[in-house]
Amino acid sequence: MTVNTISQTKTELQAKVLLGLGVGLLVLAFLSLSVGAFSIPLGNVLSIISSQLGVNFADFTAQQSNVLLQIRLPRLLLAILVGGGLGITGASLQGLFRNPLVEPGLIGVSTGGALFAVIFIVFGASIPAWHYLGPFALPLAAFIGGLLNTYIVYRIASQFGKTDISLLILSGVALNALSGALIGLVLFYADDAAIRNFTFWSLGDLGGANWTKVGIGFLLIVGPVVFLLSQFRNLNALAIGENEAFHMGVDVQKTKIILLVASAVIVGTAVSMSGTIGFVGLVVPHLLRLTFGADHRLILPGSFLLGAILLTGADILARTIVMPAEMPIGIITAIMGAPFFVWLILRFKKIRY
């Protein structure tokens, strides 16, 4: 058996895994468009979409068409963008910190983003320069908050190119507590009109989806995601160690900056659109690594697809469990994710790779 046949089999396997995840996402997407308080049969979902593409079947009602095109489709696309974005960000940050317990929510990136988003919503009117940015101002504010917290956590927990996991989690706890308290403080001083509710920022919600949000999300998330996808070889090398990666020819400093900024843009945008949704970035890369190994060539795109699948699935549950009311989606991801996190810690205690 030669190395070339080994790597060929590996590439084929990776392609199959990604194809499988893609098909899974597609199936779930149609399911998500169909179910809900107002049920649209799958056949009608298909005919509404095909009529948008020019092939008219006209066997659906105008109400069905409106619900699908104005409510469900943007919501589904937002779930895919946010879930995929959180998934790939989790994978990248874990690679950067060289630690499988890292997640945007745990280390304070999401709450940092939420804090700055809340500050912007409440006090933004008094900063005239922001108005030029229009609908991009809110995601940008969240991005700055996310980047700030990522940077602080990184500086606290890293020394000589190694990241200490206990310092990392503890500084995450501290920053989460502080950011959470400050969010509460800002909301305390805000009037009801300025803020929808606190739940949105702490538990997440996809309910506010509309085409404007999807458009902005698409513009701000897809670019950084592509950037992250291109970093797979650097992330593989970083897994051996920062010094080792440098010796092998990785510009470590540049890679770090790319990863941190791209992650903060994605998380900041996601947070500003749907609040803080936890555990997606933690669970997703792990499931993939457990089953298919650690090669980031698969982990990065796989995490995007699986993250999108997970959040789309969670959103279906959020919309159907307490019909016709809706459950905050963060409750569902946390109920699934927190036990997984505990299991992960126990496992981490037993074996270290």
Binding site: V3, I6, G293
Partner: protein, 266 residues
């Protein structure tokens, strides 16, 4: 050739390396020897480009190390640090493959097979790196670093290893040193930090003796591995039985001294 001139490195105004000048020549195996805390690893890191030196210059093939991009540097020098741990479940062959990060050779498949055969790690290829024993891990890392300089090139290259055989059994220690001896024939300069003085005497072309951040002596094995030099550098009575044409010098510590020491302690 790698030329390091008047290299100086301080931590909190305490010199760790003081005015060190070393040359590494292709075709030569240089061994860095010295007691704990002498500054071996620091000097090693300066030469490898990992630590910047405060004063002095390091030149690779006549060009200052600062003028190299990270990737260019990786094409002419490979480094094996003391310990490398992975947090993610990579397989052994994936770790070795990473050695080809900078070169991206067309022959990557053959190179990986060759270095894994040489280090006798081919049978470990599908295993998770984290499940390997300490010595096996070291052999995998050794294979990764070898892969980086394996393909012959028209320009001089460098391979630097910080205690590369510390976890290997005696047979592999010698196999690893023999591999390095054959690698140096490919226009490669080898720098190794070793603690085993007999190993040093056997394989080194040049020895650099380091004590308290200063290069005490450097030169051939005959000039450096002597009773006086080693006793001074290590602060410990060491006897060297001079080598012959067919055998390297033999280094022996004086066991009587240890006995006396334990007597005074009790």
């Amino acid at each position: 050739m790698l030329q390091a001139q008047d290299v100086h490195f301080c931590i909190k105004n305490q010199p760790i390396i003081d005015q060190a000048s070393v040359n590494l020549r292709p075709g030569e195996l240089t061994v860095l020897v010295g007691p704990n805390g002498a500054g071996k690893s620091t000097l090693f890191k300066i030469l490898a480009g990992e630590n910047p030196c405060k004063h002095g210059t390091v030149r690779y093939n006549g060009r200052s190390i600062h003028q190299y991009k990270t990737k260019e540097l990786a094409r002419i020098r490979a480094v094996m640090p003391q310990h490398s741990e992975l947090t993610f479940p990579f397989r052994a062959i994936e770790v070795v493959e990473m050695g080809l990060f900078a070169s991206g050779s067309d022959r990557s498949g053959e190179i990986i097979r060759e270095v894994m055969d040489a280090t006798e790690t081919w049978h470990l290829r599908e295993k998770l790196y984290g499940n390997l024993s300490g010595g096996e891990k070291q052999r995998i890392q050794f294979a990764r670093v070898l892969a980086q300089v394996w393909e012959p090139k028209p320009f001089p290259r460098y391979i630097m290893l910080d205690e590369p055989v510390s976890s290997m059994d005696i047979a592999f220690q010698h196999k690893a040193m023999n591999i390095l001896q054959s690698v140096k024939e490919r226009n490669v300069a080898v720098l190794v930090i070793l603690h085993d003085l007999n190993m040093t005497a056997h394989y080194a072309d040049r020895v650099v003796l380091l004590k308290k951040g200063l290069i005490y002596k450097q030169g051939s094995v005959e000039d450096t591995i002597t009773s006086e030099n080693l006793a001074w550098v290590f602060d410990h009575p060491i006897r060297v039985i001079p080598g012959t044409d067919s055998a390297a010098p033999f280094v022996q510590t004086n066991p009587n001294f240890i006995e006396k020491l334990s007597l005074t302690l009790s």
